[in-house]
Every structure is written in structure tokens, then in C-alpha cells.
């Protein structure tokens, strides 16, 4: 059988421990953080760049699509199989290749878990800034593919602002090195192009990142509101004061009650919204900014402002925020998390709209926002066993996306396009814009063998969210 020969060839490259081919094993790779699609023909685990090259050459010769995968935590279906092929899991390429503190750089393999890099340099007083909520599981390779964000990217930028160089294997098996340890290397910014390309332009096998100095002081505030509108007004007012917090997060009452029940972080059960605000830097700056923020909160009818007194208390507040999705999973059979962006001044207007959508489609919607940069994560609670609900939830999410686009925003701020939103791309780009993007893809991935069916619209399904919403829970 063709499949068997192919599997044998893969085993010849990687050894039996590097290849999964039994149906019960392959089933585990049918899904990622978004949804379930096809079963891969095989799942392979390279441990070196050389392995990746050989896999790519073999698969290309046989015209088998390749789907790169990190930890599978992605929320836009970037790692699922759409039209056959093998999954290349980078999870075993997890070496921190070099830590170079004087140059404030680290070189890592793609399978290094986000938080492990920070743990490796924390004692020396450094950290890696991008911090997606899944940072304890997600890989830096996956972060590069999605150009991931996180709460602390408000002040320091997203993944692309912290990646200086890449090694990548192209669809023809060639290896390129882009960028390096220094800034501004001459030539087109291929590093910048590859970051966020969702595994469609190359398989990243090594990443050079910037490390940042741990700030001298951190202050974490929890501002509690009786009305959502006051919380959203506070967000705009903080910015207007010229303060850029390290993080500025918002949760509505529904969400924070679920979070509180799950994590006991001390969020008040009877409030309408909370802001989780963090400022960091020099002691003096942090103290002043915390005072200014408290004054702004007071002007906007805050009920109370709580300061985390210890690092444990701070960690607990963040645990509540970072595990919020899981907490909502406890109270609803399923949820569908959306990722949209709006100009931050439109927050109040957008929240009202989301409420309308919730009423219209008869869903409970929980709201978690990276409020500081206008990045919204409404979570739509539904029951996937109910077919009608499953259909309605997609429609509701789509209305929210369309509204984000209308307000001058974007259909994704950090989760990526994947298979979920490629048909929605026309909401924010013209045909000419997309054609220009397609030209780049054709140059880099001419046969379309890398991660097919992602990012760009297929043109077959007009303007629809494409998702079997069932996994989120």
C-alpha cells in the first residue's frame, strides 16, 4: 500500500518513535484549540532541522501536504488538516539553543514552551515578553506562526516585535536564515514576513528572540465597577493621561463570576466588571502611575481599587485572568471564543453591540478584553449537541466580526486566520489587497503544500466563518 511505503520511509528518517500512524494515535491530531477536522495520514516528530528537511523533501516528492504544529493550542484552526497530509509536530524540538544575556538574546528551537524560556532566564533578571494566556503549554514556534500576543504586549508589542531572526525550511527543502542577533540587517525583512504566516510560508526550525530586563517594580491593581460603561471609560481615560500600563485587561461580571468560582482569585462576585491593571518599571514611576490610575478610576465611579500586596496575590489575580477560558468551560457545555480588534475608544459602543447580538441570538456572552489595545475576546456559550445552537453561534460570531471591521478594526488581533476566518478576509481586504498577498504566498509556497487551506480565502465559501464549533469546552 502506498500509505505503508510512505510511513516506512518516514520511519527510516525518524525512527519508529518519531512517527505515529495507528488510527487511535492519529485521532488525537484531528483537532486544535478551535475545532476538529480531518485525520492526518501520519504525525511525525522531527528532533532536528535535518529531519525537517528530509521530511519536507519526501513529502514534496509525493505531493503530500504538510501541516506544521506546535502544542495545538491555536484558536483559529491553524494546525488542523484540511485536505489530507501529514502533521509535522515540532514539539520535540524543544532545546533552548543559546542564552546570550549580554546581548539580550536567546536562540530556541520551535518546540520550546513559551513560559520555559522566561523561567530559564528569570534568575538572571530577564524575561521573554509575549505572554499568551496559554503560555504554559503553547510553543514559541507556534507563537511565531500566529504572531501571538498576550496581556503584556500592550506596552512591549507582540511576537513580531521580539523576534530578530529565524531559521526556516522552505517547501523545496531549502533552509534559509533570516535576520540574526542584531537589528536592521540589510535586505527585505523576511523575518517580519514569516512571523504570523501561520506555517504557510515555511517551517520555522530556530528562532532568535529578544530578552528584556525584569522591571524593578510591578504594581497590579484590580478595579471593581458596578457598571460596565464606567470600566470602559476608565480604559480610555488612562490612555488619555499619557500612561501606558504594562497590561490593561477587562472582564465582565458574568465572566468574573465564573472565574471566581473556579480559581478563587478574590474577584467580587457581585460586580459588573473588573479591570486588571499592571504598571511596571522604576519604583518611582510605578508608584506615581499607580496613584494616577487610581485617581482616574475614582473619577469614573469605581467601586474599589485593590492593590496586590504580595507576589502571590498578584499571581492569583493573573491566574484568574489567564484561566478564564477554562473557567467558562466549567459552566457551559461549549463556548466559542472570538478574537476581534476595534479602536479602543469604540469599546463602549462595541460592548453594547455584543449585548444586542447576545439577545438576538439568545446566547450568554462573556467578555474578556485586552482592553488597552482594543482586542476583544467575547465568549459565546452554547451547546454543541444542539445543531441549531451550533449554527446560530457561528452567525452571532460573524456579526461581531463584521462590526469590528466596520468600526475600523480587524477580524483577528492575535489568534490568527487559520481555517476559521480565511473566508472573512474580504471584510478587511479588497480583492487587490488579497491578490498582493497571494503573490507572496505563490513565491514562497508555489505548490501550496505547506498548511493548505489557511489564511487566504479559497473563494469557494463566500464570506463565512468556517468552523465546526465543537471543541471549545
Amino acid at each position: 500500500m502506498k500509505m505503508n511505503t510512505f510511513t516506512r520511509e518516514l520511519i527510516a528518517i525518524l525512527g519508529p518513535e518519531g512517527v505515529l500512524s495507528r488510527p487511535e494515535d492519529l485521532m488525537l491530531y484531528e483537532y486544535d484549540g478551535l475545532s476538529t477536522l480531518e485525520t492526518p495520514e501520519a504525525v511525525v516528530f522531527p528532533t532536528s532541522t535535518e529531519h525537517v528537511i528530509q521530511i519536507v523533501r519526501l513529502a514534496s516528492a509525493r505531493r503530500v501536504p504538510i501541516i506544521p504544529r506546535g502544542a495545538g493550542t491555536g484558536l483559529s484552526g491553524g494546525a488542523v488538516v484540511t485536505s489530507g497530509g501529514i502533521v509535522v509536530s515540532l514539539a520535540r524540538m524543544k532545546k533552548i539553543v543559546e542564552i546570550d544575556l549580554e546581548n539580550q538574546r536567546a536562540r530556541v528551537q520551535p518546540g520550546v514552551v513559551n513560559t520555559d524560556l522566561t523561567l530559564a532566564v528569570a534568575d538572571a533578571g530577564y524575561y521573554y515578553a509575549p505572554d499568551p494566556s496559554s503560555q504554559k503549554a503553547c510553543t514559541i514556534g507556534g507563537n511565531v506562526a500566529e504572531n501571538s500576543g498576550g496581556p503584556h504586549t500592550l506596552a512591549y508589542g507582540v511576537t513580531t516585535n521580539h523576534v530578530l531572526g529565524l531559521e526556516a525550511v522552505l517547501p523545496d527543502g531549502e533552509v534559509i536564515r533570516t535576520g540574526g542577533k542584531c537589528w536592521d540587517l540589510p535586505g527585505y525583512d523576511l523575518t517580519g514576513l514569516m512571523v504570523g504566516s501561520e506555517g504557510t510560508l515555511g517551517i520555522v526550525t530556530e528562532i532568535t528572540v529578544r530578552l528584556m530586563r525584569t522591571p524593578e517594580a510591578v504594581e497590579t491593581l484590580l478595579a471593581v465597577y458596578d457598571r460596565v460603561i464606567d470600566a470602559t471609560k476608565t480604559v480610555a481615560a488612562i490612555t488619555a493621561q499619557g500612561i501606558t500600563p504594562a497590561a490593561l485587561e477587562m472582564m465582565d461580571g458574568f465572566t468574573l463570576r465564573a472565574v471566581e468560582q473556579a480559581t478563587h482569585a478574590g474577584y467580587p462576585m457581585d460586580s459588573a466588571a473588573v479591570l486588571l491593571i499592571e504598571v511596571e518599571g522604576m519604583r518611582e514611576a510605578v508608584k506615581e502611575q499607580a496613584e494616577q490610575i487610581e485617581a482616574v478610576c475614582a473619577k469614573n465611579q469605581v467601586r474599589s481599587v485593590r492593590h496586590a500586596k504580595t507576589s502571590d496575590e498578584r499571581a492569583l489575580l493573573w491566574k484568574g485572568r489567564k484561566n478564564a477560558f477554562g473557567a467558562l468551560g466549567r459552566i457551559s457545555p461549549n463556548y466559542y471564543v472570538q478574537d476581534g480588534v476595534i479602536p479602543r475608544t469604540k469599546l463602549p459602543e462595541m460592548l453594547e453591540f455584543i449585548e444586542e447580538v447576545a439577545r438576538k441570538y439568545d446566547f450568554q456572552i462573556g467578555n474578556i478584553f485586552h482592553a488597552g489595545d482594543g482586542n476583544l475576546h467575547p465568549l459565546l456559550m452554547y451547546d454543541a449537541r444542539d445543531l441549531d445552537q451550533s449554527r446560530r453561534v457561528v452567525k452571532a460570531a460573524q456579526e461581531i466580526m463584521a462590526r469590528c471591521a466596520e468600526l475600523g478594526g480587524s477580524i483577528t488581533g492575535e489568534h490568527g486566520v487559520g481555517v476559521e476566518k480565511n473566508e472573512l478576509m474580504p471584510l478587511v481586504f479588497s480583492q487587490d489587497d488579497l491578490e498582493f498577498q497571494r503573490q507572496i504566498k505563490n513565491v514562497m509556497n508555489p505548490t501550496g503544500s505547506f498548511n493548505p487551506g489557511k489564511v487566504l480565502p479559497s473563494g469557494k465559501m463566500c464570506g463565512e466563518l468556517r468552523v465546526q464549533v465543537s471543541a471549545g469546552g
Binding site: 549580554e102 546581548n103 539580550q104 533578571g125 504586549t153 508589542g157 507582540v158 534559509i176 536564515r177 533570516t178 542584531c182 537589528w183 536592521d184 540587517l185 540589510p186 535586505g187 527585505y188 525583512d189 523576511l190 517580519g192 514576513l193 512571523v195 504570523g196 504566516s197 530586563r213 524593578e216 480610555a236 499619557g242 501606558t244 518599571g281 522604576m282 519604583r283 506615581e288 480588534v341 479602536p343 479602543r344 489595545d373 482594543g374 482586542n375 475600523g408 478594526g409 480587524s410 483577528t412 488581533g413 492575535e414 476566518k421 478587511v428 481586504f429 479588497s430 487587490d432 489587497d433 488579497l434 498582493f436 503573490q439 507572496i440 505563490n442 513565491v443 514562497m444 489564511v455 487566504l456
Partner: protein
């Protein structure tokens, strides 16, 4: 006058209007690049006119070099062909400006000065201090991804541009990115265009992320004596809680020139670290105490100056390349980029090379970033200059970096590549260029690998 045939000139005039097309030799002469003079200068009044101009040029196989205020026109290899100079200075619309969102979208031709004046009343700014200062246009700044010492804290245009409109050689207007500060919809084509020096398309509009102006700013000057002391100070400052907005290491020659512009600063021909910090009064006071302690530990004196006294000096530091060029005709200005820790070692190596050749030198380094600007002030001839550039480039490339020629006489540029080794990504770069500019009309031959 081979280049632009009469019929094409008429067509171009029809696109922008007769008065927006300059053909007089005196007008064209000023825009010469390495001895090549364009046949005409065109000043489109809208993005659509830029697109039409590019299409017309592409249809007729004419080479276009785009510029804003021409402050960086000389950077790059000599053009293989240069028929039309395309100026974006008339694209000055403010498309939107939302102070509360900290975002703005403006025409590529808007001057940096006008941009900052627009934001200033709201206590906002675009935290860049590029060469060319207020005169340079935002389109030019983005196309060249230029930054000055402020990049230490704020980064480069790459970190501030959230969207763009670009005219292509097909005559289309393309949007990349958007208006919001966080956005991962589609390929990040903006990254390719930022720093592409007009070789992929012509930027017509730029959407920017803005930043709050620091409440107070102060400059601290630390006399370092030797490069060894400078290195120790750089290490201790970067390891301290002090967060400089910008930090440069001036060699003795440059310190002497720059210091003249600052009142009450005693003349010095010693290497100095200039550091600007910002924030509230108590933050700035704390930084003053920290720097004093760090200075004392290595025997370096620390002086402090108010923002108003040093603004001109900082601009002069950013304009290192242009004042070097003007003061020393025949001089060569280079920009080295390298891992942070290599800056001082590289400087000392270059000083040795220059001394061996009896060439005087000036330098401005950004030691917290790993960027070094060098001026070779009086090379005896182009051969000597080219030889020095090659050796310095070797040193930079050996320390994992690169060396770019910022300005040099045409005879020197004829002997050395402006960009240096292209690396393993070059084949892809060539293909990307071919995809967007299939006829090769945008600044042909000027960029990396002579694409």
C-alpha cells in the same frame, strides 16, 4: 536625453498636470544619484496619480526612484537606470487622527515636523529622531526604516507602522495591515515594505501608532575617557534600573563638535556617553543619582542638561551622516549593526584600521542597541576608502553583524557594494522583488544584491 520619450512625458503630464512635471535640467540635476540624472521629476497629487505614474513607467520600461524630501536619496547602490524621480511631497493629507486611540493615518509626503506638530497639542508623538529631522517625510522614513538613538527605548518605524497604502507597478493601490494596533489578519506585507527603499512599491499613506510624550526629559553626559570605560558603563547602565530613552557613545572628535551646540557644556575632546531619560521629576532625579553612582564607580564625571539645551545637539547626533558629508567632502559614512556586546570592540578595531591608514575618523554608536555610525573623514583616494570599507565590513560580518554604506563619493561606491553580503534569504528576496516589480523599474540595482 534617451530615457523618457516625448509621448510618455505627455502621458505623465496628463496624469499629474503640466506644472507637476519638472523637466528642466536644473531641477533634475539636484536629484542625481551617483552621477545619474533623471529625465524628469514628477509630483503626483494623490495616491491614484502615483499608481498611474508607476503603471505608465512600467508599461514603457522606465526606471523610477521615489523620494520624499530626498534626505536619504543617496543611500544604496548606484541605480542601473534612472529615468523618473517620483516625489511624494504633495501627499500630505491627514486621513484620520484619533488622539484617544493613539493612532493616525497620514499621506506619505507629510513632513516629520508637521506630523509632530499635529500630535504635540495632545501630548503625543511619534518617538523617532531620524536623520534629516523635521524635513524628512514619513514615507521616506518608513521606506528606509530609519531611526535615530530614540530606538533604544521605542524601536523603529517597523514597531510603529500598523498599516500602509502602497502603489504598485501594476497601477493598483494596495492596503496592508489596518488602523488598529494589534492585527494579525493575513500576511504582514508591511514588514516587507518597511525598509525596502522603494524597490517593491511606493508608499502613499502610513497608519501609525502614537506614544505619550514623556513629562520631563533630561540629558546626562558621562565622560568615559577610554572605550574600556565606555564598555563598563554601558554594561552597568543596561544592568541598572535606569531605562534610557536614548543613549549614544560619541568619540572624541564627535563629542567636540556636538558639545559646541550645548550651552554651559565645557568643550571636550574625550569620548562621552550621552543619555536621555524621561518621566516625572522624581524618576529623572532617581536616574541622576543612579548614573552618578555608576559614573563614580569608573571615575567618570556626569553632567546634566535640560531638554531645551540639548534638543539641537541630539538632532546633530541624528544628522551625523549629513554633517560629516558636508564638512568633509570626500568622506565616507558607514553604519554597522552588530550584537550589543560587540560595539566597543568593533569601534576599537575600526579606530586601529583608520589610524594605520592615517585616515581621521568620527563615530556615533548606540551601544545599547548595537549600532555604530562611522565617518571616514579624509581618505586620500577612492581606492584607500574602498579598501577600508571592505576591511571594516569584514570585521562587522565577523562579529555577526553587517555594514551599510550610508554615503560615499560615487567613485567609492563603484568599488564596494552599499549593503554587503546578502545571505541565504537572497534568492527569496529576488523572487519577491520579481513578483511585485516584474519589470524591475523601481530603483533598479540599488538594493541588496543589486535587485
Amino acid at each position: 536625453m534617451a530615457g523618457v520619450p516625448e509621448a510618455v512625458r505627455t502621458a505623465l503630464a496628463a496624469i499629474v498636470g503640466e506644472v507637476q512635471l519638472g523637466t528642466e535640467p536644473s531641477v533634475c540635476e539636484v536629484l542625481s544619484v551617483d552621477g545619474r540624472v533623471p529625465d524628469c521629476v514628477i509630483y503626483p497629487g494623490s495616491a491614484e496619480q502615483v499608481a498611474k505614474t508607476l503603471k505608465c513607467a512600467a508599461d514603457n520600461g522606465l526606471a523610477v526612484v521615489a523620494f520624499g524630501s530626498a534626505t536619504k536619496l543617496g543611500i544604496g547602490n548606484p541605480p542601473r537606470k534612472y529615468d523618473i524621480a517620483l516625489c511624494t511631497r504633495n501627499l500630505t493629507d491627514v486621513r484620520y487622527y484619533e488622539p484617544s486611540d493613539l493612532t493616525a493615518g497620514v499621506g506619505a509626503g507629510m513632513k516629520f515636523r508637521d506630523l509632530q506638530n499635529l500630535f504635540k497639542p495632545d501630548k503625543l508623538w511619534l518617538p523617532l529622531d531620524p536623520a534629516g529631522g523635521g524635513e524628512s517625510t514619513i514615507g521616506g522614513i518608513v521606506a528606509a526604516n530609519v531611526s535615530g538613538p530614540l530606538r533604544h527605548f521605542y524601536g523603529t518605524p517597523r514597531d510603529m507602522v500598523v498599516g500602509m497604502h502602497v502603489a504598485t507597478t501594476e497601477g493598483k493601490l494596495i492596503k496592508t495591515g489596518g488602523r488598529v494596533v494589534k492585527n494579525v489578519a493575513g500576511y504582514d506585507l508591511g514588514k516587507l515594505l518597511i525598509g525596502s527603499y522603494g524597490t517593491l512599491g511606493v508608499i502613499t499613506e502610513v497608519n501609525l501608532k502614537l506614544f505619550p510624550l514623556p513629562a520631563e526629559r533630561k540629558t546626562f553626559i558621562l565622560s568615559t575617557g577610554t572605550l574600556g570605560v565606555a564598555r563598563d558603563l554601558r554594561r552597568s547602565i543596561l544592568a541598572s534600573p535606569v531605562e534610557p530613552l536614548r543613549m549614544v557613545l560619541l568619540d572624541g572628535k564627535t563629542a567636540g563638535v556636538i558639545g559646541q551646540g550645548v550651552q554651559s557644556e565645557r568643550m571636550s575632546n574625550e569620548p562621552q556617553i550621552w543619555l536621555e531619560a524621561g518621566g516625572s521629576k522624581s524618576v529623572v532625579d532617581r536616574i541622576w543619582r543612579e548614573l552618578n553612582a555608576l559614573g563614580q564607580a569608573v571615575g567618570a564625571q556626569v553632567h546634566t542638561h535640560d531638554n531645551e539645551d540639548t534638543a539641537g545637539a541630539w538632532q546633530a547626533i541624528s544628522d551625523f551622516a549629513s554633517w560629516t558629508g558636508k564638512t568633509y567632502p570626500g568622506s565616507v559614512v558607514l553604519r554597522g549593526t552588530m550584537p550589543i556586546a560587540n560595539s566597543e570592540k568593533f569601534l576599537s578595531l575600526v579606530q586601529q584600521e583608520a589610524q594605520n591608514e592615517k585616515v581621521r575618523m568620527a563615530s556615533v554608536a548606540q551601544p545599547g542597541v548595537g549600532i555604530v555610525y562611522l565617518g571616514l573623514l579624509n581618505p586620500q583616494n577612492s581606492g584607500q576608502a574602498a579598501g577600508l570599507v571592505s576591511r571594516i565590513r569584514n570585521a562587522a560580518e565577523k562579529s555577526d553583524g553587517a555594514l551599510v554604506v550610508i554615503s560615499a563619493p560615487a567613485e567609492v561606491k563603484a568599488q564596494v557594494d552599499a549593503w554587503g553580503t546578502a545571505g541565504t534569504g537572497f534568492e527569496l528576496m529576488r523572487k519577491l522583488k520579481a513578483a511585485w516589480d516584474p519589470k524591475g523599474i523601481l530603483s533598479p540595482g540599488r538594493f541588496v544584491g543589486a535587485v
